[in-house]
């Protein structure tokens, strides 16, 4: 039997852990509503103005503190981020799922080695991948821009989708596909009616993961983004270099909300299947 103080110590540990992880995030959210334009650490009142200001609306917290010189720039970065994230999610989900299916279905020479190669981009340091992609693009004369970011993100996001879908496939009963073929369904019908519904939670999970990572990626994108194709993380990083301003809290809170919605969506879909 555990003694009372041991139990209390364990509870304290649990609480401290949560505080350690979530306090900074909670702080960002709270500060995004602080109306003090000079020192964000001193609470001076509740306001939505930072949200309005990043959207380009004039507010009482006048122009002198307004950091986002051009809202167009911010919105441009958001637009780039969304274009990149949607494209890479689509491409890497399709290719990653196909790869997972191929490795599940066929046995071939050096399969383990090939599998290892697929895991590699996940453990490779971002900075190495970033430099390598930059050298590659420049060396082969690929113009840096949204397209190069999409290609760059796909190189490692395919691996993430592959891993998630493979895990789902490993749990699938492989006689289901045989039963379908036995009942007269060709490969395509079997895939559409049996295999895809079975692995769909994995495919959706992989796609959401790819979307979040793509939206969030800084290091690799930083290397391979062109001058006019800044994504949101790269843009925020640029803002930070010139000092932490209250708008950043508002942007961070909005990004957090988006991630939270996506994660909830993922959990919901997982439960339904």
């Amino acid at each position: 039997m555990k003694r009372g103080w041991v139990k209390r110590l364990l509870s304290l540990h649990g609480v401290l852990f949560l505080v350690f992880v979530y306090a900074p995030i909670v702080m960002v959210v709270v500060l995004s509503f602080n109306s003090n334009p000079i020192n964000m650490m001193i609470w001076s009142g509740f306001t939505f103005d930072w949200y309005w200001s990043i959207l380009g609306y004039p507010t009482q917290l006048n122009e002198q503190t307004l950091y986002v010189e051009s809202t167009d720039q911010l919105l441009g970065a958001v637009k780039n981020s969304l274009i990149v994230a949607v494209s890479t999610t689509t491409i890497s989900t399709i290719l990653g799922t196909m790869t997972a299916l191929a490795l599940y279905r066929y046995r071939f020479r050096a399969q383990r080695f090939y599998q290892g190669l697929l895991y590699m981009p996940m453990v490779m340091p971002d900075i190495v991948l970033g430099i390598a992609l930059l050298v590659f693009f420049v060396g082969f004369g690929v113009a840096l821009g949204v397209m190069s970011i999409i290609i760059g993100h796909c190189t490692f996001l395919i691996s993430y989708v592959f891993v998630v879908v493979s895990a789902r496939l490993a749990g699938m009963d492989d006689t289901l596909e045989q039963a379908s073929a036995d009942l007269g369904a060709n490969e395509w019908v079997t895939f559409r009616r049996i295999t895809l519904p079975q692995i769909l939670p994995g495919v959706i999970g992989g796609a959401l993961l790819a979307f979040i990572i793509s939206m969030d990626d800084l290091v690799i994108t930083y290397f391979i983004a062109g001058v006019d194709s800044t994504t949101l993380p790269v843009f925020i990083y640029g803002m930070l270099r010139r000092g932490v301003k209250p708008e950043i809290n508002a942007i961070a809170t909005l990004m957090l909300t988006l991630s939270f919605i996506i994660a909830t969506l993922g959990l919901y879909l997982r439960r339904r299947h």
Partner: protein, 378 residues
């Protein structure tokens, strides 16, 4: 066989496997021959069982018929048409899988109707046939259930319904009853047999359970190490097994190998360690053979046995009461065990013998089957 006879025979067989050979690369290296020249014919409306221990090739043979395994040599014909290169979805056979393989994301109705949906059968007809098929297997009204809401026996029925709805020429069943408990299995055996009779389609049934095979089949093919040992009716397997393997695999019994000696009127099988067993008169001397003594052949020997009987000296080791019959486990001079399960008056005499006492067993010399030794020692 003459050509026209062969043609006639071919038309009469629903499925035919000719000299099938299949080899696999074993995971631990080397080559495993799963099918080693197997030939088999399935006649119309016949219930054929492939029986054998695990690894004997029975499932591989089934999968060669359904198209999930390609043969290295030989061929499969279904209704006379060669199936080489024909993928599973174009073969007129359906399978009941060992684990049922019901589609978990589809309802019972959609599982059963899958074959019709894929074939593009109109909705109204499809629904009628699904309803009829479910009714036939005693699951009417279950259309909207999910597979995970069913019991093991019900899943088994759904798998069966799904496989018969397309009215295949041949239904393949891969140990479909192995996951059910004993009572349910017994009930399903009879039901399957009835269903097969009603539908009038061929069943090819795979099992390692000899009792199951004997209960249901018109003919049983006993497989061992990729070869067919014997194809025959269950009674033939039991009373006149062709090989030692079949004799050991089906039913209880003691086997004694030796050489037949003595005059034609009173031949005796002499084993290597000197045991002597009287065998049916007329058995030619000099033949190497194996004698199969079933428990029901043996009874207590009378004081002065007749010449028509063989007598065995043994020691009673154990007496087991099994309800309908009584088994007496006896040990012979060479250490071999033999089981006697006499019927009728013979049982009473044996019951009086105390455990450990010597005992004399007798059998009608023409009753036990004598398996002639074949060249390769099978």
């Amino acid at each position: 066989m003459k050509a026209d006879e062969e043609a006639q025979d071919q038309a009469a067989s629903i499925a035919e496997v000719r000299e099938a050979v299949k080899r696999f690369a074993a995971p631990e290296g080397g080559i495993v021959t799963a099918l080693d020249g197997v030939s088999l014919k399935v006649r119309p409306s016949e219930f054929v069982t492939l029986l054998g221990p695990s690894g004997c090739g029975k499932t591989t043979l089934l999968r060669a018929i359904s198209g999930f395994e390609e043969l290295d040599a030989g061929e499969v014909r279904i209704a006379g048409a060669p199936m080489t290169g024909v993928p599973p979805h174009r073969r007129p056979v359906n399978t009941v899988f060992q684990n049922y393989a019901l589609f978990p994301h589809l309802s019972v109705g959609d599982n059963v109707g899958y074959g019709l949906d894929v074939a593009g059968v109109p909705r109204a007809e499809r629904n009628t046939r699904v309803g009829e098929t479910l009714e036939r297997i005693g699951l009417d009204g279950y259309e909207r259930r999910r597979p995970d809401q069913l019991s093991g026996g019900q899943r088994q029925r759904v798998a069966l319904a799904r496989a018969i709805i397309n009215q295949p020429k041949l239904l393949l069943l891969d140990e479909p009853l192995s996951a059910l408990d004993r009572n349910l299995r017994k009930a399903m055996q009879l039901e399957l047999k009835n269903l097969q009779h009603d539908l009038g389609i061929c069943f090819v049934f795979v099992t390692h359970d000899q009792e199951e095979a004997l209960t249901m089949s018109d003919r049983v093919a006993v497989l061992n190490a990729g070869r067919i040992e014997q194809v025959a009716a269950p009674e033939t397997h039991y009373h006149r097994p062709a090989t030692r393997f079949v004799a050991e695999f089906i039913g209880d019994g003691a086997l004694f190998s030796g050489r037949v000696e003595g005059p034609a009127k009173d031949p005796v099988l002499v084993t290597a360690d000197g045991l002597r067993f009287a065998v049916a008169s007329g058995t030619p001397a000099g033949q190497e053979a194996t004698l199969l003594l079933r428990p029901e052949h043996l009874e207590a020997a009378p004081k002065s046995p007749r010449a028509s009987h063989g007598v065995i000296e043994a020691r009673l080791e154990q007496s087991v009461f099994l309800g309908a019959l009584h088994q007496f486990v006896c040990r012979l001079a060479n250490g071999a065990t033999i089981i006697a399960a006499p019927t009728g008056a013979g049982a009473g005499n044996l019951s009086e013998v105390a455990i450990g006492d010597s005992i004399r067993l007798a059998y009608r010399r023409d009753q036990p089957h004598l398996i002639p030794e074949v060249g390769d020692g099978a």
